[in-house]
């Protein structure tokens, strides 16, 4: 079974956000990129399926050549090759999904795995959009995935998944081909081995232009959130408890 993993490089989660000179985008200066944490769950799931049943794991990214080093980290984890669909400037989720869907349609992927959301735009849109554009089954926020007869799994294979909802889990059944968005809990992503890192240097990252179509969203501004009022230490130890309770009741009115 061939698997496409949708992978986006994002600013590492400890980034101190600074607004760029255009007032609309993040200032990229000093920002280090990592594989979107949820995409690591997707890649790990793909590698496990490949180990069990063979096939190829291909990373698909819509972005810029500057993202090559992060893509190579995904190759070091074990993906076979990568395709980088290049586009200039910011794209909205539907544009990214169009480019990915066109590439997937041209390839031979029974399964597409992606992250629950990218931790930069926090959109949680691209996976289900790709599925709809391809008219494929889609399950999002998956914490458990079972694919029937993984060995020879191909179109039509029966799958079951659990997805996270408020206060519980939903059981979903579907058939390949499908798009699955991955949530924490699905697996523990591996670290690249030294051998993996060496091997990744020789793996191909195939660059070609992305077909994105017209935008549907225009970013007007990016700003930092207003500061919260400076906090106050009510006191030390058990002695401060009565005053805390009074403040919560009379000042904050929350209990």
């Amino acid at each position: 079974m061939n698997i496409a993993v949708l992978m986006k490089p994002v600013p590492s989660t400890d980034t101190r956000v600074k607004v760029g000179p255009d007032g609309k985008q993040l200032d990229p200066a000093g920002v280090s990129l990592v594989i979107n944490p949820y995409d690591e769950f997707a890649l790990e799931a793909a590698l496990k399926l490949k180990e069990a049943g063979g096939g190829e794991v291909v990373l698909l990214t819509v972005g810029t050549s500057a993202w090559q080093p992060t893509i190579r980290n995904g190759l070091a984890m074990g993906a076979d090759r990568a395709i980088l669909l290049t586009a200039d400037g910011p794209l909205d989720a539907l544009q990214v999904a169009r480019a990915l869907a066109a590439e997937i349609a041209a390839g031979d992927f029974e399964l597409v795995l992606c992250g629950k959301q990218a931790v930069d735009d926090d959109a949680a849109q691209v996976g289900p959009m790709v599925a709809e554009l391809l008219e494929r089954a889609c399950v999002t926020v998956v914490t458990k995935l079972t694919i029937d007869g993984t060995g020879a799994a191909a179109a039509g294979a029966a799958c079951i998944a659990q997805r996270e909802i408020e206060g519980g889990l939903e059981d979903v059944s579907f058939a390949l081909p499908a798009v699955v968005s991955c949530q924490k809990g699905l697996n523990e992503p591996r670290y690249p081995s030294l051998k993996g890192i060496m091997a990744a240097k020789k793996k191909a990252i195939d660059e070609k232009p992305a077909q994105v179509g017209a935008p549907s969203i225009e970013v007007l501004s990016l700003t930092l959130p207003p500061d919260r009022p400076v906090g106050r230490i009510v006191g030390e130890g058990v002695a401060a408890v009565p005053e805390l309770v009074r403040l919560l009741r009379e000042e904050a009115k929350v209990i």
């Binding site: 539907l94 289900p128 959009m129 709809e132 906090g231 030390e236 130890g237 058990v238 401060a240 805390l244």
Partner: protein
């Protein structure tokens, strides 16, 4: 022309977050968005049609009901088909969802089918020059983005608990009409939701809780989380956790708050033995009131907390639990 609001039912009731979305749609319609009409859509079994009428009180003019026996559970393809059909019947140029597990799954499907822009998890909406402008947190709340739409139809999902629940028309009831012209054929669905199981960690899910009590590595071990659970019980709160204790296997990952966990905005968030790493703060900094209990006066959590107690959780938390119990 109007605004279409997708409602969500659970246990035979419409979720409050759906009524928040209706209230906001009415406010925006009155401010000149669309043609002034607000239409709600409920996908659900026949029995729930009646409860949808109550959206009239929050400002819906009428309600469509897409009925199907399998709609007792969320069916992604069936619901998406119904929303698209309702958008076409109403010619709505704006479609609102609440950013719940269901809304987050459904909205992008509809967006792709309609080739429409979607602003997800919005924290504020406005009408500027007759057009919708959405405000939404990005980088896990470390920055705020404002977006406009260049597509014909504009979609937004609204973060629960942030939009005012306003009875624009107290006591009013909206007429409920069956949605026609949509394909009810379940055999065409590509995925089927077959069951649900509860994994509840408290009276409400973290994203819906009014009060959250979270514990971190300062609790020293899973055996001490009864301190957190007892305080949570006294406050009627839901238990949360830092990633450190989730990764250590002390708590289930569904309880994790932060950049790679849940984003929460309760009215009260109590952080106990949590240092306040940037990834944790990202998930809870929009809480209305934040309390921190930590033995290190320099812990970063105190910079964000409205009220802090510097002290040993093993002493302070039981005393706080007792004090809260005495209030009742």
């Amino acid at each position: 022309m109007g605004i279409l609001v997708v409602l969500e039912a659970r246990d035979g009731e419409i979720k409050l977050s759906s009524f928040e979305a209706v209230s906001e749609a009415r406010r925006l319609a009155d401010a000149g968005l669309g043609g002034g009409e607000v239409v709600a859509l409920l996908c659900g079994p026949a029995a729930v049609a009646g409860v949808a009428a109550h959206s009239g009180a929050y400002g819906a003019d009428r309600v469509y009901h897409a009925a199907h026996e399998a709609f007792g559970r969320y069916q992604p393809d069936g619901f998406a088909g119904a929303v698209v059909a309702a958008q076409q019947v109403t010619s709505a140029l704006h479609v609102f969802f609440s950013a719940t597990a269901m809304g987050k799954d459904l909205a992008p499907r509809v967006a792709a089918r309609l080739q429409a822009g979607l602003a997800s998890d919005c924290t504020a909406l406005a009408v500027e020059g007759g057009k919708l402008v959405a405000t939404r947190p990005v980088y896990a709340g470390k920055a705020i983005q404002r977006v406009a739409f260049t597509s014909g139809v504009a979609l937004a999902s609204l973060r629960p608990k942030l939009f005012a629940l306003t009875e624009h028309r107290p006591g009013a009831s909206a007429p409920v009409e069956a949605l026609a012209g949509f394909n009810f054929e379940a055999s065409a669905w590509r995925v089927m939701t077959t069951g649900t199981s509860a994994a509840t960690s408290g009276p409400a899910d973290l994203t819906e809780a009014d009060i959250i009590v979270s514990g971190g590595r300062g609790l020293k071990g899973p055996e001490n989380f009864h301190l957190i659970e007892e305080l949570a019980a006294a406050l009627g709160a839901t238990v949360g956790a830092s990633r450190a204790v989730v990764d250590a296997g002390w708590r289930p990952h569904g309880e994790q708050v932060g950049q790679t966990g849940k984003t929460v905005s309760p009215k009260l968030y109590v952080a106990i033995g949590i240092s306040g790493a940037i990834q944790h703060l990202a998930g809870m900094s929009s809480s209305r009131t934040i309390v921190a209990i930590n033995k290190d006066a320099d812990a970063p959590i105190f910079k964000l907390a409205n009220y802090g107690i510097v002290g040993d959780a093993f002493e302070v938390v039981p005393a706080l639990t007792e004090a809260v119990k005495k209030l009742q």
